[in-house]
Every structure is written in C-alpha cells, then in structure tokens.
C-alpha cells in the first residue's frame, strides 16, 4: 500500500482531500496531532506486524470462504445436536427482514427517526408476552443464561432475600452463567444457589427434595420447561405453588417454540419468565444466534427491577397514531451507572425483530402445528432408538430433546456416527454421570423420516 493509496472504505484517504482538511485544521500531518494528545512514550514506534491485506473484494471473499470451507455444516451432515442452540427452519421472510439495511445498521437512533425499529421492538415484546401469558417484556438480552441471571437477581431484589433454588436438570452452561451472576466480592453478598435433585426415573424436578429445601429465606425457585434434559415439567403448577407458599418468586425458563402446544408459564404460576428466542427464526451461527428474553406481570415492583430497556406504546398529538418510548428509563445503567439494576448494553435486538417476524408468520395455527410436528418426530425417533439393542431412552414426556443411554461410551459412538455424516447428540456423561453413558438428542421439524432412518441404521451398525 503506497503513500497515495486510496482505500474503498476510507474516502478521505484521497491525499488531496486529506491535505485540504489538514490545512483547514492547521496541522502538518496526523503524527503532529497525535503528539499533541498522546505522550511520546505511549506512541507505537513501528508499524504493526500483520498479514498482507487482500485489497480486492474477490480475493478477500475467496480467502475467507476458503477457511470457512473447513467447517462442516448441518446442511451437509444430519445433526441431532441441541442443548441451547437448536436447528429449526428459518422462513425466508425472516432473513429478508433481518437483512434490510435499515434494521441491520440502525443502532441508537431516536423515537422519531427510528419509529419503525421502535414499533418492531414493541411488537417483539407483545408477541413474546402472548406466548408466555405475560404483559411486560423488554428488548431482548444476550442469551437464556443472561436472562436467567437477570431474572434471579430481580427476584432477589423484589423479595429482599438472598437464596435461590435451582434443579440439577437445568443447563450446566446456564448454571455456570448463573453462578457468576449470583456471586459477589464479599461472600456475604452472594445470592446462594442451592441445587434441587431431579427424579432418576422421570428426569423431572424432585418435588419432595424441593419442598425440603424451601424456607422463608428463598427468593425464588428457578426451573426450566422443557428442562435441559428435554423433559416437560408437568408439575409446574405445584412447583410455583410451593415457591409461593414461602413467599418466593416462581421463575421459569422456557423454549418458546414449544408454546404453541404447551401451557404458558403464566398458566402454571410463573411470576417471571425467561428463555431463548433463537428457535424463533434465527439461524444457529455456531452459537451466535442466541437471544434471551425476560417477561413478567405488569406490576411496578417487577418493572422497576428490570435491567433491560423496555418500550412502551404512547399516543401522539394525532388521534389514533402511536409512538413509542423508554419506560422507567432511569433504572438502566445508561442513566444510573453503578446504582442501576444490573446493567444494559448492546444485546441482540436484530434477533428480536426476526423473532417478531417469525411469530407473525406462524400465527397461532402455525405455532400449534409446528409444536405437534416436533413432538411427533422427536417421540418417533426416541421410540425407534429405544427398540435398538444397546440403546435406551430413559425418560418419557419430553418435547424435542431427550437423553439416549448407550451401553458403550458416547465419544466412541459419536465418532462412528460422524463417519456416517451424522452429528450424534451432545455427550451428557460428564455433566450427568448418573444417567450413564448418555447423549442429548434433539429432533425438530427439520428432520424427515429419511434422516431418522439413517440414524437408526447407523446405530444398528455401531451395535452390530
């Protein structure tokens, strides 16, 4: 790159223009200006040692695509992986809307200039609330784990208590995130996490263990539905009732794609609901599709504890016209810094808009049909696998994921499946040794009979 090189991303790299600007400023060059601001001892003396650039778009594309071609994808392989990031079909309209320049490149504009973005965000809040049976939600957060972390901290502030109960069938990754959210510098300031057992026969929360650990010190009971092991917590109402009996909040984490067919968390007593919106029309992006959400009833004591930006609808000076704005904005760290409710930042709003498009496309009937298809295909797969020798599906009553127990190590089986161009389920053996040599299988509407039969055939071969 010579002295007179002009880069397409940098218009004022044109030497004549830059000279004009420097003359206008009254400076010789950039170095002179930097020297005025940054002391000599902190200025980098040498040029950075970096790879030679690829200046043409064509070469750049070939280079990056070449590296990425070393990946295998779930289009080339049949995947049974889930565990927090799930393969669902992404309707084309979702991709079209999320690729729109206006949404893709907007950021922090105002309620007038970005009216459309504000409305799309309000519609996300409205649609997710409808699935959950709640009346308040905010802009999305980073992922389910962050949503759970904020929810638990909200419950602690609402109740003025510092202990929560979490069943051991929650996601280990989310539990790790939760432990960070609940920790403090002074251990006395921690929110103490007590784990509750799950029933070995069903994979569901052990109600008697839960009951024995409840006390007036508990701020909330956090459980997932379906839980990490895929099982539907059919005693949700009982869990909420137990939590409420000691004045604790019932906090439920959900996979919203199940809610066309499953009861909403509000129906079984949840006070705060949270979860992961990635299944709602967002691609997996190697884990980059995560999009957490939080929702609750419309009560000031809940709203006041949200860290998120929350949009409210409002009238304008013209009859029948709507505008939108930030509700109770003074809670947020943008206003209150260290006195804020946790913090807020750049999260996953583009995925929230995508989820709104998804729910608008599917509507009530589409969500119901999709839920039924997922149930049928996952249960069919489980039934077929359960009939194989060396293979067992221990828990009934799941939605789209289920552990599969093998008589041989999962690692060995997954290596063999890879040879059949199949990604076997995620290995649970380390995090859930009590289930045995098991893997978490995920089956969705993406799997057709042919794919399921390929898995069946491959496993038959493995155990032959």
């Amino acid at each position: 790159m010579g002295k007179d090189f002009v880069h397409p991303y940098i218009p004022n790299s044109v030497p004549k223009i830059k000279r004009e600007m420097l003359d206008f400023i009254g400076a010789k060059d950039a170095d002179e200006l930097y020297a005025e601001m940054i002391p000599e001892r902190l200025l980098l003396k040498n040029e950075m040692q970096l790879p030679e650039p690829l200046l043409s778009e064509q070469e750049l594309k070939r280079h990056v695509a070449g590296i990425l071609s070393k990946n295998k994808t779930t289009e080339e392989y049949i995947s049974f992986l889930g565990g927090g990031c799930w393969q669902h079909y992404v309707p084309k309209v979702c991709e079209v809307i999320q690729s729109r320049s206006e949404f893709l490149t907007a950021y922090a504009g105002g309620a007038y200039s970005d009216h459309g973005r504000f409305q799309a965000n309000f519609e996300f809040q409205s649609l997710i609330c409808e699935l959950l049976g709640m009346e308040v939600s905010g802009l999305p957060t980073y992922d389910w784990g962050a949503a759970a972390g904020n929810s638990v901290r909200m419950a602690s502030r609402i109740t003025g208590r510092n202990e929560i109960l979490v069943p051991r069938n929650a996601s280990p990754a989310r539990l790790s995130i939760l432990r960070n959210f609940c920790g403090s510098v002074d251990p006395k300031g921690d929110i103490k996490i007590t784990l509750v057992d799950y029933e070995p026969e069903t994979g569901k929360v052990d109600l008697s263990d839960l009951e024995s650990k409840l006390s007036e010190k508990i701020a909330g009971v956090y459980f997932e539905n379906p839980n990490y092991l895929g099982v539907i917590e059919s005693e949700g109402a009982k869990i909420s009732e137990l939590a409420h009996s000691v004045g604790a909040e019932s906090i439920v984490g959900v996979d919203p794609i199940s809610l066309g067919v499953l009861a909403s968390p509000a129906e079984y007593g949840a006070d705060i609901a949270c979860g992961e919106a990635q299944p709602l029309g967002v691609s997996m992006y190697a884990g980059g599709g995560s999009c957490g959400f939080i929702a609750s009833r419309d009560e000031e004591r809940y709203v006041a504890e949200y860290p998120l930006r929350i949009l409210s609808i409002a009238p304008t000076s013209v009859e029948g016209e709507f505008g939108f704005g930030q509700a109770l904005y003074s809670r947020t760290s943008y206003m209150a810094r260290e006195k804020a409710k946790d913090w807020v930042g750049t999260t996953t709003v583009l995925w929230g808009i995508t989820a709104a498009v998804y729910l608008s496309l599917l509507g009530p009937q589409g969500m119901k049909e999709l839920g039924e298809t997922v149930l049928e295909k996952s249960h069919y797969t489980a039934a077929v696998l359960d009939e194989l020798s060396g293979v067992e599906v221990p828990y009934p009553g799941f939605f789209k994921e289920f552990p599969v127990r093998f008589t041989r190590p999962v690692k060995e089986i997954n290596e063999k499946l890879l040879g059949h161009k199949i990604f076997g389920g995620n290995d649970l053996s380390k995090d859930f040794p009590e289930i045995g040599k098991s893997a978490l299988y995920c089956v969705t509407e993406m799997h057709n009979l042919d794919m399921i039969e390929k898995l069946e055939k491959a496993l038959r071969e493995v155990f032959a």
Partner: protein, 509 residues
C-alpha cells in the same frame, strides 16, 4: 450549503395485531410422515396432562405478503446507518460494514456450536487467528476470548476475572474499583453487578483532564482495580494513563481498559504500553460489524499471560496445527455466555482487518482522528455551540448547547428532533449524568467523506440559525417525520404505560 429537506416515510402502519384477519396464515410447517403418525399418534396426545395449551396463543393472523409488507414498512421508517450520514451518534462508531462480510457471515449460519472440533476448524481458525494475529498486535495483550457477546459483557467478564483473581490470592477484602465519570457507564455498572463498590473520579473542572491527584487519594488497601475508558467518552485522551496503571498496581489492584471504540488509536497506542492487565474492544464498533438495531455485537477481551487461566471456557487453542476447545481450566471464571459468543461478528471483523492490513488500519485510525479535528473546526464556529474543555480531542468531542438554550430556549432535545427533518439521525445525547449540559457527541469515523462531514455540519448550522431566528420551528419539530409529537408523560406511569399489545388493550381500550 443548504441541507436537503427530507421527509421520512409515513406509512401510519398499524400495530400488527390490528392487521390480523382470523383464518389467514403466513407459513405452513411440515407435517410428520404417515409412518411416524401411525407409530406415535397425534402430537397433542404426547403432552403430559395439565401441560397442554388450552387456548391457542393470541398471535396475529396474516398472510405472507402482508407480514412482509408490514415489516418492510417498519424498516422504511427506520433511519439505518447505511441510509444517511450517521456521525452524530458518538461512542457508537457508526462505520461502514462491508456488504461482502454479510455474505461471509452467512457461511456459518447452519453450523452448530457443539459439533465435533474437527468439523469447526474453519470458524475456530478465524477466531483464533483474529485474536492472536490482529488483536494481539493491536493491543499488546497475550490471549483473547470472544465469548462475551457485547462490550458491556466484556467489561463484566473483566470484573469477574478481577473478583476471582483477588479471591484466589486471599484478598477478597479488596472490594473497591475506581473509574472516571467520563468512562462509559458499563465501567461502573458491571463491576457493581459483580459486587464491587464503585468510586468515580471527576476531572479537573477547567481542563477536563482526568485528575491524577484524585486517583492517588482514592486508592488504598481496598482497591481491587480500575475500569477506565481511554480516550474518554468526551474524546480526551488521558496523557497520564501509564502513571494511573502504575498507581493502581502499586496498591495491589488490576487494570481493565475499556477500548470499546479504539477506532482512532489502532496502530497508534496500545493497552500494553499503557500498563493494562486486560481490555475489551467492542468488535462491532472498532472493527466493523453492523450494529443490528442494538446487537448482536461482540467484545474482544484480551488479557496478559498472568490472567490467562481465568478466561471463560472454552478457550480456543492451537495444537499441532489443529484448533481445539480447551475446557480443562480449573481457575476459569466459568461462563459468561453460552457456547463461544457471536462468532459471526468475529468473522466479519477478521474480514475487515484482512481487507485493510497494518497500513490500512493505521490509515482508518488517522483519518477518523483527522475527520474529528476537521469537524470540530467547523462545529466550533456554529452559534450557540460550545466546547466545555479546551483540550484537543481524539475520535469525538462532547459539545454543549447550553448557550443556545440560554439564548433561545432551544436545547439538545429540540435540536435532536429537528435534524431528522434534514435527513440525519438524531444525535446521541450522551450518557448521564450530564456534567456537560445539553450535550451531544458526534464521532466522524473514517467512513465519512469530507463532503459528508460538510453536509452534517450544514444541518447543525441551519438548525442553529433557526433556533436564533424562529425557535418555535425547532421546538415543534420534527415536521417531516413518520409520526407526530409523542406524548411523553405516560412512560413512568404504571397506570398508563403499556409494554405489550395485551397490556395496552386492557388499559386503554
């Protein structure tokens, strides 16, 4: 230059629920094959008793073209960065994100994060090399993670490392962190979430320079460390930053550098020489990824060798030419985000750096700095606009409209609404507290041409003229927006606020 008159699209688009027609649908999911149905029965029968949804969710019912049209109209009523000269939104670094990088990011959309490592080699290579080749050279830090999915999580991540580091050394009594009032709010809020007491230092009231004497008074045996943005959010570079890190280190603390927008100092000055132990970049800002209406973005967190063992798991490592995910790190803080973060953002940033190289990155830094000096020369001539502190600014400057407000009654809130009538985005009004009254903070990244900057300044100049000649014209703005004046008084009122359509219907219909 007379700025063009812009009129925003005004679709008067109803809330999607109002467009619903019972029975319409926009999408049909696949059904199960006959063989599946025969063996399993109907999906509804597979749900445990009591957990079946009794009434379908009240979602809107629209056909496909109608859904598309609705959201396209909403998109049109959004002034995205690609549509205009978006340099009024300082601290946000609204730079161009090359369109080719969108296509490249799409190449990982069907990759699952838990696939076997050997099937993730492409994306792991990009993340590893971006950290180890680019960010290491740009920052001087030793090891990187991209798990934090936004700048603030990067900052929080560093507070967790600080917390664990002191706990491991048997010094949990170190419960104070130090920041400055012109560091980004996340430098105060995320350590507070981690359990720290926050001491905020104020600058010299005359010069605006961070006050080293105040720092010396603030440190002590309880100091855990500092969280500092530099250049600060008002654009001033702390010239004594290495002395600051020395003072914190002498007190036994760690130093975390907020390099969220390091746009104008890439290749110019680094965290390493400034004495920091860890830092975070906002990759979507400094290294270009579309901001997505507020995410997904990504942090790039870098730490010195001594803190490497605390990084969140998994850490991407390279062994015998293969990239692997290392979970076996007993001192790790655990996880701050599921999986590996927003790798599609990292991938775009890799491509951006690859398109620029060492000279190009330095050129981007220099030009964005020069752009700011040029803009400042023009803005300071505009009536009613003042610069609170005299020092030269790096990438952006925080200006005040206090004089204009005194003279005309027109403040930043009004100007912000009027500028959109000329087709530029409302200014970023700056985070609170407003130490500098009636503030705005333009940041002209390298993306903007001289003509762009001239245009933007002409808008501000025009609105200033209007404020002094016809203040009502500005106060009653926007005149050409998608909507008319919003009634603001309900947003803090539990009786009137409505965060969902169902709450709205209950309260207002």
């Amino acid at each position: 230059m007379n700025p063009r008159e812009y009129h925003a699209p005004r679709w008067s688009e109803p809330i999607i629920y109002e467009l619903s027609t019972p029975g319409e649908r926009g999408f049909i999911p696949p059904t199960s094959e006959k063989k599946i149905k025969e063996k399993i029965g109907s999906g509804a029968s597979l749900i445990p008793e009591g957990m079946r949804r009794k009434t379908k969710p009240d979602l809107p019912e629209l056909s496909q073209a109608q859904v598309l049209r609705h959201y396209l109209r909403l998109s049109q009523m959004t002034l995205g960065m690609e549509m205009e000269i978006d340099l009024g939104v300082g601290t946000c670094t609204m730079k161009y994100s090359p369109k080719i990088n969108e296509e490249l990011a799409g190449l990982i959309k069907d990759v699952h994060p838990l696939q076997p490592e050997e099937t993730l080699q492409g994306i792991l290579e990009i993340a590893y090399e971006f950290g180890n080749k680019y960010l290491r050279e740009i920052s001087g830090m030793d090891t990187f993670t991209f798990q934090p999915p936004g700048g603030s999580v990067g900052c929080y991540n560093n507070a967790l490392i600080m917390r664990k580091y002191h706990a491991d050394r048997g010094e949990p009594h170190r419960d104070e962190i130090i920041t400055t009032i012109f560091s980004h709010p996340c430098d105060a809020a995320t350590p507070a979430t981690a359990g720290y007491k926050v001491i905020t230092l104020y600058p010299d009231p005359e010069t605006g320079l961070p006050d080293t004497e105040a720092l010396k008074e603030a440190v002590g045996p309880k100091t855990a460390g500092c969280f500092i943005t530099n250049p600060e959010d008002i654009g001033i570079f702390n010239r004594n930053i290495d002395e600051w890190t020395g003072i914190i280190h002498d007190a036994g603390g760690l130093c975390s550098y907020d390099q969220a927008n390091a746009n104008a100092i890439m290749g110019v000055t680094r965290a390493r020489e400034a004495g920091f132990d860890m830092l975070f970049f906002n990759l979507h800002k400094t290294f270009s990824s579309p901001h997505g209406s507020s995410g997904p973005g990504s942090a790039g967190v870098g730490v010195v060798k001594e803190l490497e063992e605390y990084l969140p798991v998994p850490v991407i490592v390279k062994k015998d030419g293969a990239y692997m995910l290392d979970y076996d790190r007993p001192k790790s803080i655990g996880k701050v985000r599921d999986f590996m973060g927003n790798l599609q953002v990292v991938l775009r940033c890799y491509a951006w750096c690859m398109a620029l190289g060492a000279k190009g990155l330095r050129e981007a830094a220099e030009v964005s700095m020069i752009n700011n000096q040029y803009l400042m020369e023009k803005v300071k001539k505009i009536k009613g606009v003042t610069l609170t502190y005299p020092s030269r600014r790096v990438d952006q400057a925080r200006w005040s409209l206090e004089q204009m407000k005194k003279d005309t009654g027109v403040g930043i809130g009004d100007v912000n609404k009027r500028v959109i009538d000329y087709g530029v985005q409302s200014f970023f009004t700056s985070h609170h507290p407003w130490l500098i009254p009636e503030p705005f903070t333009p940041e002209p990244a390298e993306t903007y041409s001289k003509a762009d900057i001239d245009y933007w300044c002409s808008v501000l100049e025009k609105v200033s003229e209007e404020a002094y000649s016809d203040p009502e014209l500005v106060k009653s703005a926007p005149h050409n927006s998608s909507i008319h004046k919003i009634e603001w008084d309900g947003f803090n009122d539990p009786e009137r606020w409505a965060m969902s359509w169902r709450a709205y219907r209950r309260k207002h219909k």
